[in-house]
């Protein structure tokens, strides 16, 4: 196991960041660049258990927090993150840095990692195999993922499914989970041990706070898993937990609508999703109680294994 960011002393981190500090996040290498103490503090606080990439690794994404003259703070000017082109990709108040690092990383991976078939879906795994949970924003993917990763499931991602061509192996891409608005309090109540980042108000998604994956999820992020279930979750306040089997044709049709790069990959993506559909059991899950949803998913996974 390679060293993690936690092992890098603060002076060394400050020395490396202007040239770029490379972290391994799932199958990707992300280079963080910036002179500002703000970036160093953010990384030390929220990414301490991510491994350092090997020297010489080629970065899949490069995120550069632009320098800012000190007096810009007095004027309330925003901070900027640039990608490789050194043009402002996103701007934000300093307190929202973590959210914008994560969103910038999402954009880089979603638009570049076309050696995977990428679905907009959460993935979690147990010994029996993995469950893929596609869903539109608001379906409850992130909330359910944040709960399950503290209840014996291994977090692969709360919104990126990475499917390997040929084997259909799922690759972990464990990240901080951005909970929005009331979901923050839901998880704080249901998972008292969950470790949260700061609350960031006023983002385009409302109030956001990130839940950290524990070190165990990151230590095992090189271990893939085979898909066993595709479950389309939908949170509905007050609803009884209901897991309904879905016809394969409906599963396939919905999966084709959930891929970031389905049209780009063409026939390969069509055949991968068809093979995935043949291989898994698929369900719709309506839930309001996280513990009951967990029990239902565990039961379905055991039955499918």
């Amino acid at each position: 196991m390679s060293a993690t960011l936690r092992a890098v002393p603060a002076p060394e981190l400050a020395r490396q960041l202007p040239a770029g500090l490379k972290l391994r996040i799932g199958p990707f290498v992300v280079s963080m660049v910036g002179r500002d103490r703000l970036l160093a503090d953010c990384l030390q606080s929220h990414y301490p258990d991510y491994p350092l990439a090997l020297p010489g690794s080629f970065p899949d994404a490069r995120l550069h927090l632009l320098d800012q003259p000190w007096w810009h703070r007095l004027l309330g000017r925003p901070r900027h993150i640039c990608l490789e082109d050194e043009l402002s990709f996103t701007n934000f108040p300093p307190a929202a840095l973590l959210a914008h690092i994560e969103w910038s990383m999402n954009w880089c991976i979603a638009s570049r990692a076309n050696w995977f078939l990428m679905l907009h879906a959460a993935v979690l795994a147990r010994d029996e195999g993995a469950i893929i949970m596609p869903g539109v924003p608001g379906a409850g993917k992130s909330t359910l993922s944040a709960y399950l990763m503290h209840r014996g499931w291994r977090l692969f991602s709360d919104e990126f499914t990475l499917l390997t061509p040929g084997t259909l192996e799922l690759k972990p891409f464990p990240r901080l989970i951005p909970l929005k608005n009331d979901s923050i309090e839901v998880i704080k109540a249901a998972v008292p041990e969950a470790e949260f980042g700061p609350q960031i108000p006023g983002t385009r998604k409302g109030r956001v706070s990130h839940v950290k994956p524990t070190g165990e999820h990151l230590r095992r992020m090189h271990e893939g898993a085979q898909p066993r279930l595709v479950v389309f979750p939908r949170y509905q306040a007050g609803a009884a937990t209901e897991l309904t089997e879905l016809p394969k044709s409906a599963c396939f049709a919905e999966l084709t609508q959930n891929a970031f790069n389905y049209v780009l990959l063409g026939q390969q993506a069509f055949e991968m999703l068809a093979d995935l559909t043949d291989r898994v059991q698929s369900y719709r899950l309506v839930y309001s109680d996280l513990a009951e949803a967990n029990q239902a998913l565990q039961g379905a996974l055991r039955a499918a294994a």
Binding site: P247, S249, F252, T256, L264, Q267, F270, T277
Partner: protein, 101 residues
């Protein structure tokens, strides 16, 4: 007295080279030219299958389906359903129509 235009012949577009998958009555066709995925019912698939073999008119498709399924020709709705399928399949670029000169 005006002369009726001849009924068009329908043919499967030979450039389509569709890739098919089926679950029950649901058929999915991937078109490598457009990277589009089409969801088709069994009637549409049977029409494409017939037109893959040879060009046919609407009446010819109707007759061929009746023969294939060994049923009586007593349902007017079938002709309309075939015509509707032909329009969809032409719109998707899976079949072509042409009038005999």
């Amino acid at each position: 007295m005006t002369k009726q235009p001849p009924e068009p012949n329908w043919i499967a577009d030979p450039t389509a080279r569709l890739v098919w998958r089926q679950w029950g009555d649901a058929h999915f066709a991937f078109d490598p030219r457009s990277h589009q995925t089409h969801f088709l019912n069994t009637l549409a698939v049977e029409v494409v299958d017939l037109l893959d073999e040879r060009p046919l008119t609407l009446a010819g498709i109707h007759r061929a389906l009746i023969d294939r399924h060994e049923v009586e020709d007593d349902d007017e709705g079938l002709l309309e359903a075939i015509e509707s399928s032909l329009n969809v399949l032409e719109h998707l670029g899976i079949i072509l129509s042409h009038h005999a000169s």
